[in-house]
Subunit: 596 residues, 2 copies
C-alpha cells in the first residue's frame, strides 16, 4: 500500500488536543463525538488509500492535458471523482440544509489531510469547491444559493476561485477584469484570469467560477472589486444546464508539480461577454473572497501536513528495506537496513516531528474554529475566533514551509534513487513547492500575522497563547519525568523568544515597519515552531498519562520520544530566530538596490 492513513495519530489529536467531546457539546454537533470521528476517519481512510492514493503517481506521469479548449484529466480521475461524489465526501463539513453532513472541522480537517496525502492534485478540485461553497453561504443571495449550493455540496458541480491576473498576483488592487451591469440584473464579465486551479476539466458537468472584477465606475484599488458567479454552463430555472457561457480555457500551465491538477488561463467575454451574477454587494468582493481564502489557507496548511506525512511513510518504507553499510555501533556485523544508521533516523525523526507537530497544531485550531462558529456563548465564540485567526497564518505558513524541508529529506533518505523520477519521492518535493506560494505566499501570511493578528490587538492574542504555553510548562514540571523536564526547558526558552518578538512587533510596526517586516516571515516561522512544539508538549503529557494507565504503550512511547525530539531539535532554533528578528533587521534592508 502506497499510503496508510495515520488514524491513531489523528484520533489522538482529535481526542486529546482538540477535545472532540467538548466540540460535541456544541449544539448541532451532538452526534459528532469521538466515535463518529473514528467511524468517519476509518471510512475516509479506506476510500483514500484504496481509490485515490494509487492514482497519485499516474497523475504526475500522465498529467491533465489541453486541446482546443478542452481539458482531459489523468486517466482514472473522472471515475475516482464519481466515487468521491457518491461517497458524499464533498459535503462533509457543509450544512445539512444543502445536503451536506454538517460535521465539525475537527473531524473534517483530518479527512482533508487524508485526501491530500492520497492525491494532492486530485484534492485541489474539492478544495476549491469548498471555497466557493463558503463564499456563497456567507454572501450569496437566496436565489444564488438555491441554484448553486446543492450541486456544489453534492459534488455534481465544482467551484473555482478567480483572483489572479498577469499583473495582479499578491496585489489584488491591480485587478483589471471588468463587469458590465445588464438590464436583467446580471452582468457581462470580461478579462483574463490566470493560475485558475481546475478552471477547466472533465470530471463534473458544470464549473462554477467565482470571479473578481470591477464594475464600471468603481473606486480604484481593492475597494472597487466585486465578486461574481460565472458558471461554465448557464443554468435554467428548472436547474437544468443550458447554453455554454463565454468563458474559455485558452491554455494550461506546464508546472513543477501538482501536474494532474489543471492550472488554467481563462478568457472571459471574448465572444460578447460572460454572463455573471453578483455575489452580495458591489465593491465588497475582496471581503467575500477572503472568506474563501481563509478557508483555503487552512486547507493548504493541511496539504503541507498531508504531503509531509506521505513523504515520511515512503522514506520509512525505503529505509527499512534498503540494505547498505554496517551500523556504527557494531550492533550488526553486516550491511543492514539503512534505518539502523543514526543519520537516517535523524532525518526520519525530523520528518515525523514536523508532521506530528503541525498536525497537532492544525487539529487544535480546527476545534477553535468549530467553537468560534457554533458555540452558544458569544464570549467563547470570540475567544476562539481570536485564537483561530492567529492560527491560520501559522497553519498555512509554517506547515507548508516545513513540508519543503520534509519532502526534501524524503528524497535524501532515498539517496541516488530519490533523484530518479520512477521512485516517486521527488514528486512530493515538486508538489510541495506550490504550497508556500498559492493562497497567499508565506510572506503574505506573515503580513497577516504581523498586521491583523498581532499589531492590531497590541499582541494580546499572542500573549494569551504564551500564557497557555506557560501553563503547559508548569504541567510538564509537575509531571517531572526526564522527558517532560527537558521539553519544559526548551519550551520555556522558545516561549520567551516568541514574547520578545511579539514585543518587538507591537512596538515597531507603526514607527519602523521596515524593521518589523524584515522579520515577518521569521516571526511566522518562530510562532509556528513554538505553537507546534507546545502542542507536542501537550501530547507528551497526555501520552505519559495514557502510558501510566497502560493504554497502547508502543504508540504512547513513540509520541513521547517524538515530542522530546521536537523540543531538542526544532524548538532549539527559537532563541537564534529571536536574535535574528529583534537584532538583525538593519542588515536585511541596508543594501543599496543597485548593489543587488
Amino acid at each position: 500500500m502506497s499510503y496508510k492513513a495515520p488514524l491513531k495519530d489523528m484520533l489522538f489529536d482529535i481526542q486529546h488536543l482538540a477535545n472532540i467531546d467538548q466540540v460535541a457539546q456544541i449544539p448541532g454537533f451532538e452526534d459528532a463525538g469521538f466515535e463518529t470521528a473514528q467511524a468517519v476517519l476509518e471510512e475516509c481512510a479506506k476510500f483514500n488509500e484504496g481509490v485515490l492514493a494509487p492514482l497519485n503517481f499516474e497523475g504526475d506521469k500522465n498529467p491533465s492535458s489541453w486541446k482546443d479548449g478542452v481539458v482531459t484529466t489523468t486517466p482514472g480521475f473522472k471515475e475516482a471523482f464519481r466515487q468521491y461524489v457518491e461517497g458524499g465526501w464533498q459535503g462533509l463539513q457543509h450544512p445539512t440544509d444543502f445536503g451536506g453532513q454538517g460535521l465539525p472541522k475537527t473531524i473534517g480537517a483530518a479527512c482533508g489531510e487524508m485526501l491530500n496525502s492520497a492525491n494532492m492534485s486530485f484534492a485541489l478540485c474539492p478544495l476549491l469547491s469548498d471555497g466557493a461553497i463558503e463564499a456563497l453561504l456567507t454572501a450569496g443571495s437566496d436565489e444564488l444559493k438555491a441554484v448553486y449550493l446543492e450541486k456544489l455540496v453534492s459534488g455534481q458541480w465544482t467551484g473555482t476561485m478567480n483572483l489572479t491576473e498577469p499583473q495582479a498576483g499578491s496585489d489584488l488592487a491591480m485587478v483589471r477584469s471588468r463587469a458590465e451591469p445588464q438590464p436583467d440584473g446580471s452582468y457581462k464579465v470580461f478579462g483574463t484570469k490566470i493560475f485558475i486551479t481546475y478552471g477547466e476539466h472533465d470530471m463534473a458537468e458544470n464549473i462554477v467560477h467565482l470571479v473578481l472584477a470591477r464594475v464600471a465606475g468603481a473606486p480604484e484599488g481593492v475597494k472597487g472589486i466585486s465578486l461574481f458567479v460565472v458558471p461554465k454552463f448557464l443554468v435554467n430555472q428548472d436547474g437544468r444546464l443550458s447554453a455554454r457561457n463565454d468563458v474559455h480555457c485558452v491554455s494550461i500551465e506546464h508546472k513543477l508539480g501538482i501536474k494532474a491538477s489543471p492550472t488554467a488561463v481563462l478568457q472571459y467575454g471574448d465572444h460578447g461577454g460572460a454572463v455573471g451574477y453578483l455575489v452580495g454587494e458591489e465593491n465588497r468582493g475582496l471581503e467575500y473572497m477572503f472568506i474563501m481564502m481563509n478557508s483555503a489557507r487552512y486547507a493548504v496548511g493541511m496539504q503541507g501536513i498531508a504531503i509531509a506525512e506521505r513523504a515520511y511513510q515512503k522514506a520509512v518504507t525505503f529505509a527499512k528495506d534498503r540494505v547498505q553499510s554496517r551500523p556504527v555501533d557494531g550492533s550488526i556485523k553486516a550491511s543492514a537496513p539503512i534505518i539502523h544508521h543514526p543519520d537516517v533516523k535523524r532525518m526520519l525523526m525530523t520528518m515525523r516531528a514536523y508532521t506530528e507537530g503541525c498536525r497537532a497544531m492544525a487539529s487544535s485550531a480546527a476545534a477553535a474554529y468549530d467553537a468560534s462558529h457554533h458555540h452558544p456563548d458569544a464570549g467563547v465564540r470570540q475567544q476562539n475566533q481570536a485564537f483561530y485567526e492567529f492560527m491560520v497564518p501559522l497553519v498555512k505558513g509554517y506547515s507548508t514551509e516545513m513540508s519543503l524541508e520534509v519532502t526534501s529529506l524524503g528524497v535524501q533518505v532515498h539517496g541516488g534513487m530519490g533523484f530518479i523520477e520512477e521512485t516517486g519521492a521527488a514528486q512530493y518535493l515538486r508538489d510541495a513547492k506550490i504550497l508556500t506560494i498559492y493562497e497567499g505566499t508565506t510572506a503574505i501570511q506573515a503580513n497577516d500575522l504581523v498586521g491583523r493578528k498581532t499589531a492590531r490587538d497590541g499582541g494580546q492574542t499572542a500573549k494569551a497563547i504564551a500564557g497557555q504555553i506557560e501553563t503547559t510548562e508548569s504541567e510538564l514540571l509537575q509531571q517531572g519525568s526526564a522527558d517532560a523536564l527537558a521539553v519544559a526547558r526548551r519550551l520555556k526558552a522558545a516561549r520567551q523568544a516568541l514574547l520578545d518578538v511579539v514585543e518587538f512587533v507591537t512596538a515597531n510596526t507603526k514607527t519602523n515597519p521596515n524593521a518589523v517586516f524584515a522579520g515577518s516571515v521569521p516571526y511566522l516561522m518562530l510562532a509556528g515552531n513554538v505553537v507546534a512544539g507546545w502542542q507536542m508538549a501537550r501530547s507528551l503529557l497526555v501520552a505519559q498519562e495514557q502510558l501510566a494507565q497502560g493504554v497502547d504503550a508502543g504508540f504512547m512511547k513513540a509520541k513521547i520520544t517524538t515530542a522530546r525530539f521536537y523540543a531538542d531539535h526544532l524548538l532549539t532554533k527559537a532563541p537564534g530566530m529571536r536574535d535574528s528578528i529583534v537584532e538583525g533587521a538593519d542588515s536585511v534592508t541596508a543594501l543599496a538596490l543597485d548593489a543587488f
Copy 2:
C-alpha cells in the same frame, strides 16, 4: 544575459582571502598571480556567459536521449563542447607535461564555479574527466599515462567514474563487478554499473571509464576492490582508436534535474568481456578512487555555490522587474518593484550571504590545496593539507545543502511564476537536489568529518581553525565599527558552539558512536556555517580597510552589509545547533524500529 559571472566577488576572494600573491610564490605558480587570475577569469566568463549559459534551459527542456545504446545530447552541446576543448579549458589545472596549463586551484575553482553556473548539466562531463585524470596521474602506469592523459587533458576524450551498482551505493564493500586477468596483462571486466554520469554520449570520440571491480580471489569488502581503465574504444599502439569495447549503455535515467547530463546504466562484458587495464596495484582501487572522489567532492561543493549564484541572479532580476504592492514604509505611493518589500530583500540577502560565504570558504580552501601540494616546505604542506582535508566535507556538504535552500528561495521570490517551468527558476531547484546526494551524500561527508577529520586527530585541526577564528574576532574588536563589533559577537558565540561540539565528538566517537553520528550532519552544518561566517568576517575586515582607502565603495559597502547579514541571520543558528547536537542525541535514536 541569463548569467553574468560575479568576477568582482571572485577576485576579491582570490586576492584577499586566498591570498593569490602568496600562492604565486610557490615554485611552478610564478606566473599565476593576481593579474593572471584576472585575465583567466575574464576569458572564462566570456565563454561561459556567451556559449554555455544560453544552453542551460534548452538542456532541461530537451534532455539527452537514448536509442539503441546511443546517447544523443541536447542540441548545441556537442558544438559547445568542441569550443570548450578548443579553448583549452579542460586542462586548466592539469600538468603542463600532459598539455595542461598547470594553474593553481585558487584560480581553477573560480572557473569551475562559472562553468557550473552557466550549465551544470554540461559541466558534469569535464568534472568527471578531471577525476579520471587525477586518478591516472596518481596511480596510473607510465604506459596508461602515455596512452590516455594527453587526450583526457585536451578534452578530446572524456572520463567517467564507475562505482555504483544496484546493491552498492554508499556501501562500496558490496561491489560485485569482476575482472579476470588475461595472459597479456590486461583484464576482462564483467558487471553492471548504474548512475554513471556521461557514461555514454556523443560529444567526444572516446570515453575512458574508470571502473571498480573485484579480481577473482580478492579479499571481501573494500580491501578487495581494484580500479581499471576500460575505454569505450580500444586504442592502438599508435594512439588511434580501434575496436569497440564490450561496454554498452543499456539505458539512461529519467531524473528530477540535471536532465541534459546522461546518467547511464553500463553493462560490462555481456559479449565476452570488456577489455580493462589495471590502475596501480590490485586491491587498492578504493584508495585511488578516493583521489578522484576528493577532487570531485570539492567540485560538487562548487556546483552548489554555482547554482546558488545563478538562482540569486535570476531572483534579483525578477525582483527588480516585477511590480506588485506598495512598500510598507510608504516610501513609494504606488505599486513598486517587489525588491522594495523587506521580505523579498530578506530572501535575496539570504541567498546572497550563503553564496558569498560558501564561495569565500571554498576559495580559501583552494589556496590551502595549492600550498599542500606544491609548497617547498614540508611543514607548510602538512599544515595546509590538514586544513584542506577538513574543508572538503564542509565545502561539499554545507555548500550543497545551502544550495537547496537558496534555489528554493529563488522559486519563492518568483511567486506563482516560479512554479511554472517556462520561468526557469524551478530548474535550479531540481538540478540542485542531486548535489547533496552524489559523490557521497551529506551523511557520508559528515562521517568523513567526524571520523577522519575530527576524531582521528583528537580535534586538533578543528581547534586550530577555532584559534584562527578567535584571531579574526580580535581583529574585529580592534577595528571597532558597529558592524565589526556585531559580527565579532556572533562569531564568538558560534565558535564556542563549534568547540563544544568538537569536544563532544572527540570524547564520544569511540564510546558512544550512536550519539555522535546522530549529530554528524548537524555538526557538519554547524562547522560549515561557522567557517563560512568566519570568511565573511575576514571579508568585512578587508572591505572596511579598502573602503577607508577609497577603493570601490559600492562593492565594499555591500560586502560589509552581506557579512553583517551573515552574522545576524545565519551565525545566530549556531548555539541552537550546538544544543541539538550535544544534548539531543537520545531522542534521535530512542524510537523503536517498529514504531516508525
